[in-house]
Amino acid sequence: MGAELLLPLTVAIAAVGSGLGLGKAVGMAMEAMGRQPEAAGKIQTGMIIGAAFIEALTIYALVAVILLK
């Protein structure tokens, strides 16, 4: 149960969280685009911004692991 096991596990758990969040966000965006195709551009922009926020949390975990290794 040393650092070599727990540090990559941290990133893995963060990735699970971000995977779930991104799946929900993009899924909802797709649904909204299907409902109103003329607003597809705005929805896509909002989806990309939301995805970046969610992805950033995993990146914070990755940066922390890199700093600690």
Partner: protein, 324 residues
Amino acid sequence: MIEKLVLVINNALTQTQEHAHDVTEHITDTALVATDHAADTLHAVAGHAVDTLHAVAGHAGEAAGHGGGHAPELPNWLELAHILFPSSITDWLMVWHVPIFSAVVILFLSFFCIKVYRKRTLIPGKLQNFLEFIVEALSNLIVGILGEHGRKYVPFLGTLFVYIFVMNVMGLFPGMFSSTSKLNTTLALAICVFLYVQLEGIKAQGLWGYIFHFMGSPKSAVEWCLVPLNFPLHIIGELAKPISLSLRLFGNISGEDMLLAIFVGLGILMTSAFHPPAWLPGIPLHVPFIFLALLTSFVQALVFTLLSTIYFSLMTHHEEEEHH
């Protein structure tokens, strides 16, 4: 990639070796003692050159292969110059290689844009058309979020996008390095955006309006009592913005660079057991990840720009409320 680098260096070195060979034979015809001396020196030079080639390939393999405690990275031109010509100048270049590559991007972009601007015509040629397309697309994007009065922020935010995108993509060229894969460049950019946003916030709402916004815009007695809670919360929220901007860009770009380096090392490692020729040190396994890196570079530059635009709109939207 490294194979091309190795190929170029090997070509130069084989020519040097052939030259050395010819000269050696010529001198052998004249005197015997002088021949021995010359042969030894030229052999030593050729040997040193070949050793340097192996050192370069070895460094590349090492730098890419094992992560150890140091993040794996593909070598760049300045590192190569440092290996081939160790001196105090290349030492200094290696110490400052991050701002130097960033300055290279700035010079390249400035040169490109000034060249097009000098010869601009009403009916644009191909290069001017391309730049106009980029400017118009960015302008539409930013004005779409900020409204008409956001036009004065378009130069800053547009330059941010182009600068970050070109810096990100530059890491994919052989021998080049993306400065955004180091925290100092991204933190500098995030601090610039942070200070500009705060300045614009103060200008748009006045000093009292700015502090009022930080207290949570209290309008009733209950909200006024919550001010000591709201104030630190808002300050931490504001400080979190440049931290998150810089860490996001740094993490994404350094992560993709590390990915490329590790796969290049893997490619070299896979064929190292068969002692491949110097012109083909390994399989280029990293090629699919270059496309992923292109996508990530574009998306991260776009996200940085969009988030900065949104921070501007958050800080200055009170101005619009008065118009309603």
